[in-house]
Amino acid sequence: MSESLDLTLKVWRQASHDAQGAFRTYQLSGISIDMSFLEMLDVLNEHLINRGEEPVAFDHDCREGICGTCGVVINGQPHGPDTKTTTCQLHMRRFKNGDTIVIEPWRASSFPVVKDLVVDRSAFDRIMQAGGYVSVNTGNAPDANAVLVPGRDQEKAMDAAACIGCGACVAACKNASAMLFVSAKVSQLAILPQGKPERAERVLKMVARMDEENFGSCTNTYECEAACPAAISVTNIARLNREYFKAMLVSDPV
């Protein structure tokens, strides 16, 4: 028989984007320490439904820490107290009996609340549409060894490509800046030979779109790096700045 927890939850409730939101307090008892955080929210919602109340809306999909869909701010920390962990991979053993847990959505002007803990992260999609791709001919897949990629570059590109686009970097940043996300997406393509032809155009367009979406600027506080469940390094931000600097000076105007 595993331990169980009695908890007080303070959850942000907001009926819709335009509605006024507020914290609601809920009591939960008998929560197993082996439950994941989202399973705990499932239990809360079961109770709410049984009582005839509106369940708490929250985003989730794979619950394996790889899709980037889940994500709430737990006691002031995006994805909760663990490092390199998504909300779905956080377990209730991280909490103590009698704890009060404050649960909020990502807070950023660019991520408007849809309902309760669900935010609209389509701003990230629009940044990707602006340049986060490579243009390739369709048809047969090219020969696997036609383009050689040095192992070191492949490692760096893969480290950047580990970004799951969850938005924790924006949530953690005091300026709600998307620099860590954009830098990871710029880096993963800039490092690889397939990404080189559109390199300059890509960084200029993605940064322009990032600004249009009203994300803040980077003050080099590095909260994003600490909050990132995929351990994306701020060295990618330095690379983004470098890419932008080069593109600004020595590329054809976009």
């Binding site: 002031g76 330095a238 700045n241």
Partner: protein
Amino acid sequence: MNWLVRALSSSVGKKFVMAITGLLLCGFLVVHLAGNFLLYVSPEAYNEYAHKLHSQEQLLMVAEVGLFALFIFHIYLAFSLTRDNQQARNVSYARRETKIEVPGPTRRISNWMMATGFVVLGFLILHLADFKFEARSFDYEGKEPFDKAVMILKNPVTMGLYLAGSIALWVHLTHGFSSAFQSLGLLHPKIKCTIEWIGIIFAGAIGIGFGSFVVWAMIQ
């Protein structure tokens, strides 16, 4: 030149200008501090330096216009970026905790850039009023530069405000120096640690250096 203006008006571009103007102003601080250290050599050495400097009228005018432009850009962008950053989060968190496990020596200081910047700006205005425009109620008549410096620095109000300015500058540069390198994309992992430590030592040297003149004046 439209492409350049457009590129430098983005959030990344503004940080470039912030970094470049900041580093150039650091250069000015080094030259200014080196000149001031002549106070410790002898009154004659300092007076000779001051007179020689002020005899270079054209050079001085170009330098002053350049410095003024650097300050204006740096300060204007500080306000512009702060406004953008505040607009980027319209609802604040009920609770906030850092996830940085062991905060590095310079990391939390980024929250103090605007506040320390204001103190430095206040100090700068006072300093110009004191030495350049001779606008405060001192008896400037016929004083050699060395005597003038001692007279101003011995004033208790000056001492307090100049010390506050030096400490604020110290804090400001502790983050600002290495942050400028990151903004310019130069903080590669292989030099990151070195640059961060150089920034901390540089900030300390500048802060203590300028602060030392106030302490020195006390015992004159």
